[in-house]
Symmetry: C2
Subunit: 199 residues, 2 copies
Amino acid sequence: MPETQSPAQSLTRREELLRIAAELFASKGFRNTTVRDIADAAGILSGSLYHHFDSKESMVDEILRTFQEELFGQYDEILAGDADPRAKLEQAVRVSFEAIDRHHSEVAIFQNDAAYLGTLDGFGYLAERHAQSREVWMRLLREGVAAGVLRADLDIDLVYRFIRDTVWVAVNWYRPGGSLSAAQVADQYVTILLDGLGA
Amino acid sequence: MPETQSPAQSLTRREELLRIAAELFASKGFRNTTVRDIADAAGILSGSLYHHFDSKESMVDEILRTFQEELFGQYDEILAGDADPRAKLEQAVRVSFEAIDRHHSEVAIFQNDAAYLGTLDGFGYLAERHAQSREVWMRLLREGVAAGVLRADLDIDLVYRFIRDTVWVAVNWYRPGGSLSAAQVADQYVTILLDGLGA
DNA sequence: GTCTATATAACGATAGAC
DNA sequence: GTCTATCGTTATATAGAC
């Protein structure tokens, strides 16, 4: 029925183009991906992309906003839960690796291009999300120290950066569907973080 | 003496331009830094840069080669030393943070742009150095497990990636001359890695 | 929804004057 | 060693035909 395309079909085409763009942004970087790259991968010409999106920037904007709404919803659930401090830290690490597994492209774009994108108009929410993420982890760490399950002799800001970097940078080598599952990686990371490498 | 410029003076000007370029590559990324950006920062016009260098790529090539020769020389010294396995791991972490402190731009370029640069002709040594770095850390870890100072129940490849990522990604927030010295950061990272965060 | 065709700007790099 | 001037290419984005 070419005359009466459903909204669902339009949405599907739009989402398909966003998925293609996200994979290219993730693997080559936002600046290093041209609209011609995206159009080629989609089997159309570059000009045709502008029927669906206003600009290249609006594409990455939509990709990142959708992903971050889901991720921070999960962090909020952990904070609101009634698990003990050590379990909450473990949950936060696991949720992060699940995000790397299920939204690999989006995490890679956020990890590798957020610094540049944050300088553009309309991307101020990236800095807000960054601050929000810091608050989540810092609160988990402070609760852990207060409860006596985390050692108190370390610089807590440095510990935050250690965990944040360690978790998110894994997107650059972790491959969904590979030999190690996200849960397996998360288990070992939690072990190293909380118990250390020492025998 | 304008007629008889010494080699030292030419070298100084060349090194000054490389330093300016390295800072821009590090803060904005290689692809996102134009030759006009470099020339502007140096107070000359873009065409004048080509009196000193063949291309933008040859500039970053010279920056990375010089840095890596020094860094891997230090790793080799650690491997050849007679310290115990745990001390060698500590030394490797400290040497890495000293590199972040004293060669901040170079480390940032290697951390952020090596994946792209490695695809270019003439940059095959980046992959070689990457493999060499892996061998250094894997050898240190295997010796640690064999000596019984490191726990043996973890995936050693995953531990390698954990340490590598954790150490080098710190270049994105560490600032030379800031409130935390490289040695202080290295001390706390070694503590977290070997002893863990658990109380 | 895609194509043809093109506007406009920025890019890396070059040639020759000074 | 730098400047003037510009070439050739590629980038994002647009206008209108189909």
